[in-house]
Symmetry: C2
Subunit: 349 residues, 2 copies
């Protein structure tokens, strides 16, 4: 059933039917009711291709998911972010176009999306410290929002980010307050912007106590379970192991816990572990969060806010860049205890 057929059924012109369906004010209310009812009854929906062509916009948002060929990894943060954003799109009648590409094809993909007018805007994931994509979007004149920031590029674009620097400054500060001085960090890939900000936060906290970050104690890699496991193992095998560890995501933290467990050790009793938790839904665990969580923020909420920002930008392209900086929630958990030496002291006293 198409518009023409529907209008013939009703004895009206396609024009009127179109207007009724799209909520134009100048159509008679009784006519509109008739049209709406007939559309429902005949199961009519406007053809998406025709609508795109006529309107010159496609009601679609693009997300590009680069899958590194080397590791074949999909970031689990992605799923929750998409869930948050996608819900918002659906509410506004927008579709979500997801393109899975190899890392090295990502730029070509954005060019292609822009050229063929496949999307009205895009959401950028996982910005690097110096991310070329931001310049590219401007060149392509494609509305966009970045989930995160890119330090080198400046602030002249839309972004939604967590205050990573501050979160890790506080987290490290807490460990320092508890008496730890040898603090390790299981971080993300070094060229990721969030990882660089988190490291900066830690560095600042230590510096304010006159302590320098020890390079051997800082790890950078993609945040898999196995990465957390092997990092923690290496720490434990050091002549002078750290007494506390910061971890950038819950997934390597799970690996770190396994390494501790294999060594007959436990979090909190032997090594204080402080985790950044993106609140991934399958790992959220209500009552038990205090046992191991410290810095927390919701990826899904970030997805929701990013989507909102993008839709507004599309509706009003001349608006100046918007920024949202979310503060992570710091929860002091059981697993974040005093340094072992202090703990012994406390027990005695």
């Amino acid at each position: 059933m198409n518009l023409k057929e529907l209008s013939q059924h009703l004895g009206l012109s396609p024009t009127t039917v179109s207007r009724a369906l799209n909520g134009y004010p100048e159509v008679n209310e009784r006519t509109r009711q008739r049209v709406l009812e007939a559309a429902e009854r005949h199961n009519y929906s406007p053809n998406s291709g025709a609508k795109r062509l006529a309107e010159g916009r496609v009601m679609t948002i693009g997300h590009v998911l680069p899958v590194s060929n080397e590791h074949e990894m999909v970031n689990p943060v992605f799923a929750d972010f998409i869930a948050g954003a996608g819900k918002r799109y659906a509410e506004e009648g927008y579709d979500l176009l997801l393109t899975v590409v190899r890392d090295e094809d990502e730029v070509a993909t954005y060019r292609d999306l822009a050229k063929r007018r496949a999307v009205d805007g895009v959401l950028l994931h996982g910005p690097k410290v110096n991310d070329r994509r931001i310049e590219l979007m401007k060149e392509l004149n494609l509305p966009f929002v970045v989930h995160g920031r890119s330090s080198v590029v400046g602030e002249d674009y839309n972004w939604v980010d967590v205050n990573n620097r501050r979160a890790f400054e506080r987290a490290a500060g807490l460990l320092l307050d508890l008496g730890h001085t040898r603090i390790a960090f299981i971080n993300g890939l070094a060229d990721m912007d969030f990882a660089s900000r988190r490291l900066a936060g830690m560095r600042d906290a230590l510096a304010s106590r006159g302590i320098e970050v020890c390079d051997d104690l800082v790890r950078h890699a993609e945040m898999s379970e196995n990465y957390g496991y092997s990092s923690m193992r290496e720490f434990l095998e050091m002549p002078e192991p750290p007494t506390a560890v910061l971890v950038s995501s819950i997934i390597p933290a799970i690996g770190a816990r396994r390494a501790l467990s294999d060594a007959g050790l436990s979090m909190a009793d032997d090594v204080s572990v402080l985790i950044h938790d993106d609140d991934l839904s399958y790992f959220r665990n209500e009552g038990d969060i205090p046992t191991y969580t410290a810095v927390r923020s919701s990826v899904r909420d970030a997805g929701h806010m990013s989507a909102e920002m993008l839709l507004q930008t599309i509706a009003n392209p001349d608006k100046e860049p918007q920024h949202v900086l979310l503060e992570a929630e710091l929860t002091i958990g059981q697993s974040t205890g005093p340094a072992p030496a202090m703990r012994r002291f406390l027990k005695q006293g």
Copy 2:
């Protein structure tokens, strides 16, 4: 730059240019070269809306991601499956349309996708034992492939599935061979088809030894970390705890490990744990797999194969239903040891 402009630049008709670009044989080879080069130079791509309208197909595959309102969960299997499938789509020039909806809106979403011709076919995730969506797809005349199966509906549709029954029959058989008789099962939601097949496999293995499944030892829920944790805790608090546990996914298994650890117990030494591992990329851990994995299959591969099957179905709609049954790989890990009593016996010699 559109087709008309491009053709004027070249002094050709839009028809010829279109033919050259789409690889029609009847165009002069020199003309084609000129056209291709000019298109490249002017950065031309056909407008997606116009193409859809003219061709009557949209070069798009739909995936629907239902997000349960209650738990706000996104299944992490989804991301890896999409990565496998999406890559294949991209290779063939297909787009992937992802719709995030509340559980209860899922059916309406498929109807909508079909009505407005937004997709050429869909991929169905997470089939229930009796899944209405399969009938719906037939009614809507929408080509589709199911990742998994739906027992009640029959086999009269395209599917790609793991042999869940057999995998868990073997897994339970292995535990029985090791001397376990009280075996628990941390399974997925009871109405999911995969969960029902896995339970059937376990039941058969026990039955062949004259043992009945004990209802108290079988849990059904969405497979979060916390679910694994609380289930294992409950098992441990029983007057007569199980000596072995089957777990349907690595995520609750992580929770189960935490519960054991909290109780001062460990996998293998105290409770044999046998896990179904979907090989989620962020949890894949090369050398360490034998420590805890037993039944294994790759979701990403399933995604790839499902995509392939769907594209073939779209190209050739009259083809009869295709089925792919993947066998899970059974790896006997360190964590899958003999029953505690047996182990003590073995130690004595």
